[in-house]
Subunit: 363 residues, 2 copies
DNA sequence: CTGAAAGCGCTAACAA
DNA sequence: TTGTTAGCGCTTTCAG
C-alpha cells in the first residue's frame, strides 16, 4: 500500500538544491528566489512529499496543535463493544423513543468542540481532542500534553494538581467551571446572571410567586451558578428560595420525565418550574403535555442552553441561550494569543447570554 | 511561566540510569527490574517529565494519532470575526428563532466525531480533527496527513487526486459517500434501503399514491442514494417517480420552510412528502402546523437521520434513523485494524438503519 | 539567496 | 537486565 515516504532529502536531491532550501520554500517562501521556489515545489508535487510533523515539531519546538480535553461522562464499561451482528440493513419500529442503542447526544460539548475547531482553523492551528473517561485522566492528559503547544480544558475534567503540573509546561485555558487560581486563562458564560434575569422576568412580569428549581448534579459548577442566580432573583423579590426545595434530575431528560410524572401524580406542580438545562425542561414539557396540563397557563417551564430541540417543542421553550460555540472559539482564541505572548497577564472572559422568551412562559 | 522542560536525559541523570532505560520504563515496563523502574518513575514525577510526542513519533515512525477530516460547509468569509463588544452579560429577546449569531448545529458531523473519539479512546489512539473550508482543502489535508498514522475522511471533503496521493502514504478510511475505488476502506449506511422501506410503508400500508420527494443538493451522494431508494419504492408499486418532480431545499430547514410555504400558497401539497433529511422535514412540519394543515391526516411528512428534534416536534417525526455515532466508531475501528495489518484486504462496511414510524406518518 | 552542519528528544537494534 | 549508539526528518544559525 505504501513505499517509503519521500523526505526533504529526496526532494532536495530531485530539485538539485539543499535541504535547507526545501525547508525555506515551505516555511518562508519569500526568502527564496522565484525560480528555485517553483523548481522545489515541482519536486514536492511530483514526489508527493508530505512533511513529517513529528520531525518538524521536534526541530521547531512547536507543534501547531492545540489540545482540547473534555470530561467523558461515559464510564468505560458503559460503552458497548461495536457489534458485528448483521440482522439486515433495515429495521422498522413504531414510535421508538430510544432503544436505538445511541447515547443521548451531548449538544454542549459538540458545540464547544465545533467552535474550537473553527477558531483553530482560522488561526492555522490544528485541534487534538481527548476525553477523560474511566478512573484515570492522568495518562490521557499526559499523553496529549506531550503533543500540543497548549491545552484547553473543559470544566472540571482534570484534577487540580495534574492541571498545575501541565500548566507548568504549556499554557492551559479553562472553559466554564469556576476560575481556578490565576495560573490559567479562563472563559465562562453568564450563568447566574442569565437565569436570574429569566427568573426575575417570571416573577415580576408574569406575576408568579410560586417557583421551583429543577437542577442538575449538585457538584456541577454550572448548576451551582445557576441555582445561585435563581435564588438571587427570588430573594430580590422577597421570596424564599427554599419555600419549595430544589429538585434534581442530573441534567437528563429521562430523569426529569420521571420526576415530573411524580409531581403530576402527587398534584404538587408549582406554578413555574425553572430548569437548569433544556433537556430537563423538554422532559417536563413532554410529561405535562401528555397529562393534559396547559403550559404556560397552568405551569410555566423554562430551560437553559438554547438547544435546537427547544425550538421544535410545543410550546416552544423559554430558555437562556448560552453561546456554546463561541465558548470554544473564544478559548482557542485566547490560547492562540497566549502562544504568541506567553508572558501576558492571565485573561478571564465572561460571555454574555441571551434570554429567549418563548411559548413555555410567555405563550 | 515555564522553564526548559525536562527530557529523557534529565530523567536518566536524575535516576542514575541510561536514557534507554528511561525509555523502556515508559514503553515496556516489564522489561525493567522493579527497583530500577520505580527509581525512574520517581524521577519522572519529581521532574514533571512529559515525553515529547514529536521526538517519539519521529523515532518510532508512528504517532498514535488518527486524523479525521470533514467538510466544512462554512465558507471562510462567512465566519464572523469574534467580536469584543461588551453590551452587558444578559440580553433579552422574545421568541427569537435565530438571530443568535449561531450557525445551525451540524448534528451529523458532531455525532460522527463523537463516535470517532470514543472508539479512538478505546483503541489507545488520539484524534486530530480538521475541516475543509474555503477553496483549498489541500493545505489542511497535507498538514494533517503529515501528523497522523491514518486519515478518516468524511464523504467528499477531499478531491480524488489528493486522496490518492495521501492513500499512497498512509491508510485512508472513507465515511459515507460512494465507494471510491478500492484503495480505501469504506463505511456507509443503508441510505437507499432505508428510505425505500419507509416509502414502501407509506405506499402500501398507508395507501398513499401521491408522493413527492424533497431532496438536498443534487451533488450530495447521500441525496443521490436516498432519491434512488425513493424512486425504487415508487416503481415497485407501479408509480411514476416523476409524476411529481423532486423538490430541492439543500438539506436546510429554512429553505424547506420557504418551499413549503410556496406549496401551501399554491395549493399544491402532495399527499405525502418524503424528505431527504430531518431538518427539512421539521421545516415543513412547522409551516404546515401554522397553516392549519393536519399531519398526517392531510399530508404525511417523513424525514431522514433521526435527530433529536424529531422527537420533540408535534407531531413526532417519522424518519429513518442512521447510526451516525456508530459510523464514526466503525471508521476508527477499521482504521485501527488497518494500522495493525496494513496488507489486509480493503474493507467495506454498510451499517443498518432503523425506520422510525412516528406521528407524522402513522399518527 | 543558498548551503553546511548542528542539533531537537526519543526509539530500537546491538552489545555488554 | 542495562547501556551505547545510530539515526528518525526537519529547522535554524552561520558562512559564503
Amino acid at each position: 500500500m505504501s513505499e517509503k515516504p519521500p523526505t526533504v532529502y529526496d526532494v532536495a536531491a530531485h530539485a538539485g538544491v539543499s535541504i535547507a532550501t526545501v525547508s525555506r520554500v515551505l516555511r518562508r517562501p519569500g526568502d527564496v528566489r522565484e525560480v528555485t521556489r517553483s523548481k522545489v515545489l515541482g519536486s514536492v508535487r511530483e514526489l508527493g512529499y508530505v512533511p513529517s510533523a513529528s520531525a518538524r515539531g521536534l526541530a521547531a519546538r512547536r507543534t501547531g496543535v492545540v489540545g482540547v480535553f473534555f470530561p467523558g461522562f461515559d464510564a468505560a464499561w458503559e460503552i458497548p463493544e461495536l457489534s458485528d451482528a448483521e440482522d439486515g440493513l433495515v429495521r422498522m419500529v413504531r414510535d421508538s423513543d430510544d432503544s436505538l442503542g445511541q447515547r443521548p447526544p451531548d449538544l454542549y460539548f459538540d458545540a464547544v468542540l465545533r467552535g474550537a475547531e473553527l477558531e483553530a482553523w482560522r488561526r492555522g492551528l490544528v485541534l487534538m481532542v481527548g476525553a477523560g473517561r474511566g478512573s484515570d485522566p492522568e495518562s490521557v492528559v499526559r499523553d496529549i500534553a506531550g503533543r500540543v503547544d497548549g491545552l484547553v480544558v473543559l470544566a472540571r475534567s482534570v484534577p487540580d494538581d495534574l492541571l498545575n503540573a501541565i500548566a507548568h509546561r504549556i499554557p492551559v485555558t479553562l472553559i466554564a467551571g469556576p476560575r481556578r487560581g490565576d495560573n490559567f486563562d479562563h472563559v465562562s458564560v453568564a450563568n447566574s446572571e442569565g437565569i436570574r434575569a429569566l427568573t426575575h422576568h417570571v416573577i415580576s412580569e408574569l406575576k408568579v410567586r410560586q417557583l421551583q428549581y429543577l437542577g442538575g448534579p449538585e457538584d456541577s459548577p454550572d448548576d451551582v451558578e445557576r441555582y445561585a442566580g435563581y435564588c438571587e432573583a427570588l430573594r430580590l423579590a422577597g421570596l424564599d428560595p427554599l419555600a419549595l426545595p430544589p429538585l434534581r434530575a442530573g441534567f437528563r431528560r429521562e430523569t426529569a420525565r420521571e420526576l415530573a410524572r411524580g409531581l403530576v401524580a402527587a398534584g404538587k406542580l408549582p406554578r413555574a418550574l425553572i430548569c437548569a438545562n433544556d433537556q430537563m425542561a423538554l422532559g417536563v414539557l413532554d410529561v405535562l403535555h401528555r397529562a393534559g396540563i396547559a403550559v404556560p397557563d397552568q405551569v410555566i417551564v423554562t430551560g437553559f442552553d438554547g438547544i435546537d430541540s427547544g425550538r421544535a417543542s410545543v410550546p416552544t421553550l423559554s430558555t437562556v441561550f448560552q453561546p456554546m460555540e463561541t465558548l470554544g472559539r473564544e478559548a482557542v482564541r485566547i490560547m492562540a494569543d497566549r502562544l504568541d505572548s506567553p508572558d501576558a497577564e492571565p485573561v478571564s472572559k465572561r460571555l454574555p447570554v441571551t434570554v429567549l422568551l418563548r411559548g413555555s412562559s410567555d405563550g
